[in-house]
Subunit: 336 residues, 2 copies
DNA sequence: GTGAAAGCGCTAACAC
DNA sequence: GTGTTAGCGCTTTCAC
């Protein structure tokens, strides 16, 4: 696009393109005098190497892809923030794709990325059931790092949080603060992430000798409206005095449902949720959250991808677990 | 990366690469029978054209760049969501960059993008003062569409919201609900976006015969901590009974400051803010917001960029203005 | 309707 | 220390 190329730059300097190329890449075969001349002229003429030419030549794209369910989500936007910062430090570019939880879209993105457009992929899985075979094919051809939304049956490097322990501790916290009948708003059921959270809930109940008839587990629906109705009916029917929500998107409707049902949080119902809401503190009442280190997850995932690029990563199946933070607030306050 | 190329595909079909290429691009010179064969084999072998080769050849990248101050921001993540959806429909790829409000970083991104890596750029300006000359150079070489954070002195296509009217109406709303001393938390002062919001505030005061000594305008600081202190001192010193915040990031600290100062919102102080907080309704008290159509801005901006690509856009300097929504809630309730 | 060949801009192997 | 050349994979003349 109206840009100068290496040949013109070489011409201007009475040098060959090869020499200029070498000078720009700081090759040791080039005299420092020539290097200086080249650099100066490149700057003067605003030379920017054509990335497609060098990518085509070198089979490297200096680009990574990030595939997430949604960008407009407190967790994912923070994770992407972390990824972008790491990429920037390394002069890498970041392509972004959202699946809207559809594994068909996910698969189609991954297929397109096999063309060599990117050097690697960071992915947080769509919560629809996954074509595991397809992922095998992908990761044979392209480095992939999974973060947060992972699946045990898919091999690969994974960055997650301590989902099981977080859910377990959350239920423990509800019990300590007086809950006798604790419901669970489940999501991500097809993924290990969701399964671990559910298992943490179940095990905490069992360890506290709570009955577990599975009745108090609500499965999330297809959209926000449906979820609201499901939640309202769930609360009205089962009258739980505590709820652990596996995702932020299911906790917010609880506030509206409780208002509608004339229930007071935390008096009638205590609420705790996995959430990266920046201002959980300002909700009415303030929300007790399990806060995932979203930014750090992004940084870590990107860091590992770059280690893979540099052949400094030797554990193709390692899972790295970062700790979430239980932040106790009004919504789970013990009632005297 | 382990991928099949057009030559191998051609070989498999006993055709030339040229014919395969034409068949894949649905050229009219190719018999439909051959096309069918090629398509089938391409699918079977999972052929994906190498984007760098075709980009190099055709000087088209099928990629756009989005440059924003921050990804982890309710407004920008929604806008990016809109952009990504439009890009996806057109099989375009989206590169993402964040400036963290630094115009030096912004400039460096833009320079790197001149290499032809992208076909166009969508940008929301960093709030630092801008090198206007530099932008002239850029837009001569690359289609650029500005959104939300724009500058009148920089030519180009722009998508904004009705910042002036929104601020004006917000102040009017505060006055109607009883405010006598209205403060303004200013930000984005170097940009037209910020200037228009400020001007709306000032004009509304004037039209209502409020004194305007400029004392009630607080300039935002360098970071969240500083902003909190500035806001607390501002409220303590000037004792406004109404505040219009030009950005969400300055409204949230008001809640904390008021708690600290033992002031009640909305009794002692009414608060309204430009904001895309999903759950302003759930804050304590719920926050009256000026809600920008962030997603639609993204969709619109991307749509225009594609029109420019297709030479179906003829107004290199048009500004398109979408309407924001004033959503009245508890934080500005009139006190009987 | 199909094939052969040139070339997009860059870089690495091979000269000298 | 620098130049020459070939080729990355694709598309597009130009032939036939």
């Amino acid at each position: 696009m109206g840009e100068i190329n290496i040949k013109q730059l070489a011409c201007e300097l009475n040098l060959s393109a090869a020499t200029v190329s070498r000078a720009l890449r700081d090759s040791h075969e080039i005299s420092s005098e020539t290097k200086a001349r080249v650099l100066e002229m490149a700057k003067k003429l605003n030379y920017e190497p054509n990335p497609f030419a060098s990518n085509l030549r070198g089979q490297k794209s200096k680009t990574i892809a990030v595939i997430v369910p949604e960008i407009a989500n407190n967790f994912f936007s923070l994770a992407i923030n972390g990824i972008e910062e790491v990429a920037r430090e390394r002069d890498y570019h970041v392509l972004i794709y959202q699946t809207h939880e559809s594994s068909a879209i996910e698969t189609s993105f991954l297929n397109r990325l096999l063309s060599g457009r990117v050097d690697g992929v960071l992915i947080s899985l769509a919560c629809e059931n996954v074509d595991k075979e397809h992922f095998k094919k992908i990761s044979n051809q392209l480095p992939v790092v999974f973060f947060d939304r992972v699946h045990d049956d898919i091999d690969g490097v994974k960055i997650t949080t301590d989902d099981y322990e977080s859910a377990y501790n959350a239920v423990q916290h509800l019990i300590e603060n007086g809950c006798k009948k604790i419901g669970y708003l489940s999501a991500l059921n097809a993924l290990s992430t969701g399964k671990k959270r559910l298992q943490g809930y179940l095990d905490a109940l069992k360890d506290n000798d709570f009955p577990d008839d599975g009745n108090l587990i609500m499965k999330s629906g297809a959209n926000n409206d449906e979820n609201y109705t499901l939640i309202k009916n769930f609360i009205a029917e089962h009258k739980p005095d505590g709820i652990l929500s596996s995702i932020e998107e299911l906790a917010m409707p609880c506030y509206y449902a409780c208002k509608e049902l004339n229930l007071n949080i935390p008096v009638d119902l205590k609420l705790i949720s996995f959430s990266n809401l920046a201002h959980a503190q300002l909700l009415n009442p303030s929300l007790t959250t399990i806060n995932q280190p979203a930014f750090e997850i992004g940084v870590e995932a990107a860091g590992i991808l770059f280690k893979i690029f540099n052949k400094r990563w030797y554990e193709p199946n390692q899972t790295i677990i970062l700790k979430s933070n239980l932040i106790k607030r009004e919504s789970t306050r013990a009632i005297a």
